[in-house]
Amino acid sequence: MSLLVYVENTDGKFKKSAFEVVSYAKAIAALTNNTVTALSIGHVAAEELTKLQKYGAEKIISADSNQLSNFINRAYAHIIADVAKQQGAQVIILSNSFSGKGLAPRVATKLDAALADGAISLPEIQGDNWTLTKSAFSAKAFAKLSLQAPIKVISLNPNAFEVQENEVSAQLETYESQIPAADLGVLIKEVVRATDKVSLPEAEIVVSAGRGLKGPENWGMIEELADVLGAATACSKPVSDADWRPHSEHVGQTGIVVSPNLYIAIGISGAIQHLAGVSSSKTIVVINKDPEAPFFKVADYGIVGDAFEIVPQLITALKAYKGQ
C-alpha cells in the first residue's frame, strides 16, 4: 500500500506546502510501513518534480495536459481519486490551502473516505482508527477527530508540519486518461497574483496592523517592516471593512486564521474575534500605546508606545541586525 500526496504548484514551481505535505506523508509512512507516492497536476518540469525525492517521495506521478494548466477542482478531484484507486492508496494527503479546501471534500466524497479537514498533527494510529488534532471554533479550541473509515483523506494546515529532508530516489510516471467533459465546465478567465508578496496563510512572519494606524496612507511603514522581515502583511477586520486594506489581509475568526512563527500586531486592540485567528502563532509581539489593550495578555513580547515612533525605530534596528 502507498500513501498518495497531492502536491500543488504555482506556475510550475512547487509551493512550500508541497514539501510540507510530502514530509508529513513520509512521517506517516514511517509509522505505518508504507511508501509515498506524490501526484502533481498541471505543467511541472521533470527537474522540479524530482525535488520531491528530497522529502521522501518514492514515486512521482505527473498529470500534465493543456486542459489542466489551471486549477479546476472537479477535474483535479477526479484525477486524485482515480490515481488513489489505481495505486490502491488508502490514505490521501493534501494541503488545506485555498485550492485544497475545494478539493479534499470532493475527493473524500468520491472515495467514501473519512476526512480530516485542517489537520495540525500526525495521526495516532490504532488499526483502522486514526486520531488527529484540528483547530475548532476558529482556533479558540482544538478538536481530536477520529477517522473511522478504511479510506482517509487528510488536509494538512499550512505551517503545521515542518519540512523535513529525507532523500530517496523516485521513479517518475505520467498519468494519462480522459477527463470527463462535465468536470471541465469552468473557465478560468484571469489569474491575478502578486509575485513579489509573501502569501499570508503560508507566511512564517506576519506583520499586522489595526485601526490604531489611523488611515491607509500610514501603511508605508507596515509594508517596509514586512519587507525587512520577509513577512506577509495582514490587518484587523475594521481596517479591511473600511477598505484601507484588501479583504484578503483580514485575519481573525471571520477572516484568515494564521499560525506563523512570528505575528507582530501594531495598533490592534486584541478583540476576541481577532485573537481567535492568530492565537496559534508561535511568538506574538504587540505594539500598542494603551497598556491595558487586551492583546498584551496573549503576547510574548510587547512595547507600550506610539506605533508612529516605535515602528520606524524597529525598522532601523532590524536593518542593522540584518546588515551584520
Binding site: 477527530l145 473557465l187 513580547y301
Partner: protein, 245 residues
C-alpha cells in the same frame, strides 16, 4: 431563478468557548446563537441577485427545533421561505448529504453556503454538495456576478485571485467581499413570523468520523515588556530568545 442558501447556527463570535468536564462536548449554557457570519454574506448576495422579482431565495438548515429563531432571522432579513431538516448536525458530511438529498430534484439555479462555519471550520459543505449533485463548486468566493445563466466568480488564491466563469447551476461558498450582511428591519421581522418554514425528516446517514475530545489552548506565559526607548532589545530577544528571526 431559484436560489438556495445553506445556513448554520453558530455561537456568537464573542462567546468564550468551554467544554464539559469530560471534554467531549461544548458547553452551551449562556451561549447566544447567530447565523454563521459567512452565511449571512451568502444570504445577502442571494437577496440582491433575486431582488425585483428576479428570483426566490430559500434558506435551509440542518438542526433541531432550537435553531428556529436563527432561521427566522434569515427570513426577517428577506428570504422567502425556509426548510429545516430535523436532526442534530453531526458533521459537515452529514449536513451536506441531508441538503443534497433535499435539493437534488428542486431545480435550484444557485446554491450558496458560507465559506466555512465559525464553530467547526470545516469549509466542506459547498464542495461536498457540488460532488453529490454533480455540479461545479467554488469553495471560497470573494465576488459573485450573474448575467443570464453565466456566473462570474472571483476565487481567493494564495497571494491573489482567480476570475472564473461557469454556467448555472452551481454551488458557491462565500467569503467577505461578496456582500454585506443585511440587518432585518421591523417589517422584515414582522413578516418573518408568517413566512413558511417547512420541517422535513432527516435521512439515516452513518458517520465516518467523530470528534472524541476537545482541548483549549495552553495559556501563554506572561508578556515580556520592552522599553520603548530601547527597541533594538526587541530584535535581540526575537533572535536569541524566541529564535524567530
Amino acid at each position: 431563478m431559484k436560489i438556495l442558501v445553506c445556513i448554520s447556527n453558530v455561537p456568537d463570535t464573542t462567546s468564550k468557548i468551554t467544554f464539559s468536564a469530560d471534554n467531549r462536548s461544548f458547553n452551551q449554557t449562556g451561549i447566544q446563537y447567530i447565523i454563521n457570519p459567512y452565511d449571512e454574506i451568502a444570504l445577502a448576495r442571494a437577496l440582491d441577485l433575486a431582488e425585483g422579482g428576479k428570483g426566490t431565495v430559500t434558506v435551509i438548515s440542518v438542526g433541531e427545533a432550537s435553531i428556529d429563531p436563527t432561521i427566522r432571522k434569515a427570513l426577517a432579513a428577506g428570504a422567502d421561505d425556509a426548510v429545516r431538516i430535523d436532526a442534530a448536525p453531526k458533521d459537515a458530511r452529514f449536513v451536506a448529504k441531508q441538503i443534497a438529498h433535499y435539493a437534488k430534484d428542486q431545480g435550484y439555479d444557485l446554491i450558496l453556503t458560507g465559506r466555512e462555519s465559525i464553530d467547526y471550520n470545516g469549509a466542506q459543505v459547498a464542495a461536498i454538495l457540488g460532488e453529490l449533485l454533480a455540479l461545479p463548486s467554488i469553495s471560497i468566493a470573494k465576488k459573485i456576478d450573474l448575467t443570464d445563466n453565466t456566473l462570474t466568480v472571483e476565487r481567493e488564491i494564495e497571494g491573489g485571485k482567480e476570475v472564473l466563469s461557469l454556467p448555472t447551476p452551481a454551488v458557491i461558498g462565500t467569503a467577505e467581499g461578496v456582500a454585506i450582511a443585511k440587518i432585518p428591519n421591523m417589517r422584515g421581522i414582522m413578516s418573518a413570523r408568517t413566512k413558511p418554514l417547512t420541517v422535513l425528516a432527516a435521512e439515516e446517514i452513518s458517520s465516518l468520523s467523530e470528534i472524541i475530545a476537545y482541548e483549549t489552548p495552553a495559556p501563554r506565559g506572561k508578556v515580556t515588556l520592552v522599553d520603548p526607548g530601547n527597541v533594538s532589545q526587541l530584535v535581540d530577544l526575537l533572535h536569541t530568545q524566541a529564535k524567530v528571526i
